[in-house]
Amino acid sequence: MSNISEALWKATGETIYMTLVAALFVLVAGLPLGILLVALDKGGIWENRLLQKVLAAIVNVGRSAPFVILMVAIVPLTRLLVGTTIGTTAAIVPLVVAAIPFMGRVVEQSLREVDPGRVEAAQAMGASAWQIIAKVLIPESLPSLIRGGALMVISIVGYSAMAGAIGGGGLGDLAVKYGYMRFRTDVMLGCLIILVVLVQLIQVIGDWLASRLSHK
């Protein structure tokens, strides 16, 4: 019994590790991507529709590849970056690659909710493009961005379960190897319950932060 609970705790730790590190990278890359998707679009602060279309196309390609395929396809990249293709850290690479386009779209959607009149007011006051991003677009969409961020973290938790397939470890891995292959229903249930709690927690924190920051 102690073996099982030990395994569960270890797997939980791995899942949290993969999720948090991946989320950090996704945030750092996804935010600028989303900003670019909006800023380059028609009427945007850096309007360049050709570049916008190219970027949007790349994002769409990234979003249409099923995660399992993507994971295998970018093995060379993973080896280049991490030095190995097996293990928890190696699993972070495909997680990040898969979630960046998703996050970019989430950020894009949040920024588009900002009333264009406010951007225009800032322009009328002589604000530069950077000032508009830092003082108008991001602060005005912050509650929405945080909700989108929670959505992103939750989907990384989901993807991370699949990363078990390349020996990524984590709760998904444990659930498949013990719960499914060895017919250990208790392990399966344990994994599920922990995943549900994790997802709930992320959602609750996200909602709480978003509503605290909203002054609408």
Binding site: D115, M125, G126, L142
Partner: protein, 365 residues
């Protein structure tokens, strides 16, 4: 202070081409409040957005405070915009910032030091009467208060010019009056030049020194408000006193439609068909009298009735203050001997009253 020279703005959507502005030339003098009146779709918004180049005109020149804005590079234009305040119909305040933070925005943009910003924000909020609300968020304010914050924000960086894009159109009549009073106060206190666009005649009468009427992208009339109102031949006069129109000026009738007038708290106007429905008697005439300034102070009607054998029956009347000037507009039914009538009219004209014959008794219809 603001000069627009032969501005044209054309939008191209596929094969279709829309001329939003055509050959618009106007000059706003320092310290005056200049109104551009027009119905929605006439190009007002495009016009005012051409002044700070939120829209770049296709043709023409935009000169604000001696600077040719179209010739400026991007950084220069941003600098120039800091000296052109703007307020909006829907306020465009930032939800993420407090009232004080909103007013501080243009100062942050202009790179003011923090301590100076705080002092300036306090000063401006006191000016617009919202000193206690510095830490509130815009969502906690009424529409009128939001517009006051908008005004404080527009004034923060010490602009020479204020642009007002339908700033009172989303407000109720009473709030409209208080916001207009504030604009007038700022105009007089700070000597600020104001260019405003509106579809509300009330706004023009309440605060504007000069006015231009925009129809279908062209300026069809411009001049001092008092002069235009005094002249029954002008469009402004006809819009203001629609009874006088033989045929209602087509393009703008929608804009002074009954609904809008009620909404803006404008005068209750009789239907434009009053003149044609007038039950005429032989020897009677329906006259329109317009008088400006001095004659408005005199009891013209009783003077005429006493001097000539003419009975005057006031059918419709209205005396109001436009800026500093009193303007009177009466529709009277005058009955009497034709000679007496002619003399009475000559007497009125001698008093600087403009007389129009709207209908004559015994007219065949």
């Amino acid at each position: 202070m603001i000069q627009l020279q032969q501005i044209a703005k054309t939008y191209k959507t596929g094969a279709r081409q829309v001329d939003a502005l055509r050959d618009v030339t106007l000059h706003v003098k320092p310290g005056e409040i200049y109104g551009v009146l027009g119905q929605s779709g006439a190009g007002k918004s495009t016009l005012i957005r051409c002044v700070n180049l939120l829209e770049r005109p296709t043709e023409g020149r935009v000169i604000v405070d001696g600077q040719d804005l179209l010739a400026l590079p991007a950084a220069g234009l941003r600098q120039a915009r800091q000296k052109i305040g703007m307020i909006f119909q829907h306020f465009n305040l930032l939800d993420s910032r407090t009232v004080g933070g909103n007013v501080a925005f243009p100062l942050e943009v202009a790179g003011w030091p923090k301590a100076k910003i705080t002092a300036r924000v306090t000063e401006l909020l006191a000016l617009v009467g919202l000193a206690e609300r510095a830490n509130s968020y815009p969502s906690q304010l009424s529409g009128g208060q939001k517009q006051r914050v908008g005004i404080a924000r527009a004034l923060a960086a010490g602009p020479k010019v204020l642009l007002s894009d339908e700033a009172t159109s989303a407000l109720d009549p009473e709030t409209t009056r208080s916001v207009l009073a504030l604009l007038k106060e700022i105009n007089q206190k700070l000597g600020l030049t104001i260019l405003l666009i509106t579809h509300q005649m009330e706004v023009v009468k309440a605060v504007c020194d000069s006015v231009a009427i925009l129809e279908d992208g062209r300026l069809v009339e411009q001049g001092a408000v008092v002069d235009l109102l005094a002249d029954p031949a002008t469009r402004l006069h006809q819009l203001c006193y629609p009874l006088m129109a033989e045929a209602p000026p087509s393009a703008l009738t929608g804009q002074v439609g009954a609904g809008e007038r009620a909404q803006t708290g404008a005068l209750a106007q009789p239907s434009p068909t009053l003149a044609s429905n007038w039950p005429s008697h032989p020897g009677a005439a329906l006259l329109g009298l317009t008088y400006v300034g001095e004659p408005a102070e005199q009891p013209v009607i009783s003077l005429v009735a006493r001097r000539f054998k003419v009975d005057l029956n006031v059918i419709q009347g209205n005396v109001e203050l436009v800026g500093q000037t009193r303007i009177g507009r009466l529709v009277v039914e005058a009955t009497g001997d034709p000679d007496d009538l002619t003399n009475a009219i000559a007497f009125l004209e001698g008093l600087n009253v403009r007389v129009e014959h709207l209908a004559k008794g015994g007219d065949q219809r």
